[in-house]
Amino acid sequence: MKLEGKRLIWKDYQKEIPDDKYFYVRSCIRQNFFPASEHHFLKIMREDLGKDVYETEHHTTCGGIGYHCDVIQLETIMSIVARQFALMTEAGYKNYAVSCITSFGLYTEIIHTWQTFPEILEKTRRQLKEATGREFEIPEHVAHASDIIFKLRHEIAAKAKYKLINQKTGKPLKVVEHIGCHYAKMFPHKGVGGAEYPYVLAGMVEAWGGEVVDYPERRHCCGFGFRQYFVKSNRGYSLSNTHKKFESMEPFKPDMIITNCPGCPYFLDRWQYVIAESEGKTYGENGHGIPVFTYEEVAGLVMGYDPWDLGLQVHQIAVEPLLDKMGIPYDPEAKYKGLEGKDLGKPELPQNICCC
């Protein structure tokens, strides 16, 4: 592997990412799956890095799930997106930060469509005006939240308490990065590093001391795939996709996975459990799985936030082995304690995969 080769390619896929003044939109599903991720993005941005990130409770879904499940028309979705942008315009922002890569992909696609076909843009403006009375401007910059963390990765590294380094061996942790299909595969130039050798997460890993694993099925979908997951009879395809990825990364013995997308960490995390329970196969060390994180969680860990405050107890795959490697202290007793020490109850333990 020649890193210079990749750097040459990364050069071709640079995007302009403002480092401040963002209008932030959340993901529909992340708050359920990884409840503390978005919270910590805002916290790190505002409190640790002192950035201006605006958020409003009036924003809605972008419509991406409906779009990818083929249940909502594009025209309708454009109006929804236009309304989001109107909220931004009204709040006086020009930079749009997106928490979800499916949304990010959709925004990119719609803006591209509007730029290519101005009449559609006009139609959308008209429809939004008629429906809501609002007006909007297209954002000057649309950044995925990970783009912003990527941009600020060195600032975070400068403030880091922990590094992606195995404290026992002193060697960098081996990290699988997974950027998700909708981040750059549709519009490679809108993603940091392009689609073939994406750099957005790899840059964070590098900056925080880890080593990226480039494994053969790196480009492959996590297995979410919308229709493949939502319809139960198709769920085997979803599982098979994930299985394929794990089979491919297994020989590299990764310590962790860092992800970019709302769905990916969920499926990479939960399907490890299903594979273990239905096939008896586990991919981590000593019967564990490979812990899966969102980039915000990794940033939070590096910054020294308490793992349980980062919501890591809701992961299916136990994160403790990784915390041990990084030398992050944690209180096992506090794992299933909520706010103010409220008992969340302990989950039932699976048979084939070690979860604590």
Binding site: G236, S240, V274, I275, E277, Q351
Partner: protein
């Protein structure tokens, strides 16, 4: 093991690293013209059996070369050995011999 009502599906991908190439080698050793095929499909088009069933000698020969023997063993018995394919083959492949060898060797491996 737990049943979730769904499971890992068999991949349609040909994994050449795990493919069983032994049949190909054995046949090529006994019938060298097996390697001459350039997959024009003339054999399939003229095939007496192919009129009634999905028997496709071009495909079967290629499947053997890719080590995918399941479909081969399912279908190879359908050949009537009439020899039309051998006549029309532009590369002079001894198709009848190939079919006989496949039958014999699959039987020897107890696949059929």
């Amino acid at each position: 093991m737990k049943d979730f009502g769904f499971g890992i599906k068999k991949s349609g991908v040909i994994d050449l690293d795990k493919a069983d190439m032994s049949l190909m080698r054995e046949i090529a050793a006994e019938e060298p013209s097996f390697l001459h095929c350039f997959y024009c499909g003339t054999c399939t088009a003229t095939c007496s059996a192919g009129k009634y069933t999905g028997f496709n000698l071009r495909r079967l020969q290629l499947l053997i070369k890719r080590g995918q023997l399941d479909e081969v063993s399912e279908r190879i018995s359908e050949c009537m050995l009439c020899g039309k394919c051998q006549w029309v083959c532009p590369k002079g492949v001894n198709t009848r011999h190939v079919v006989m060898l496949v039958n014999k060797k699959l039987h020897a491996r107890k696949i059929r």
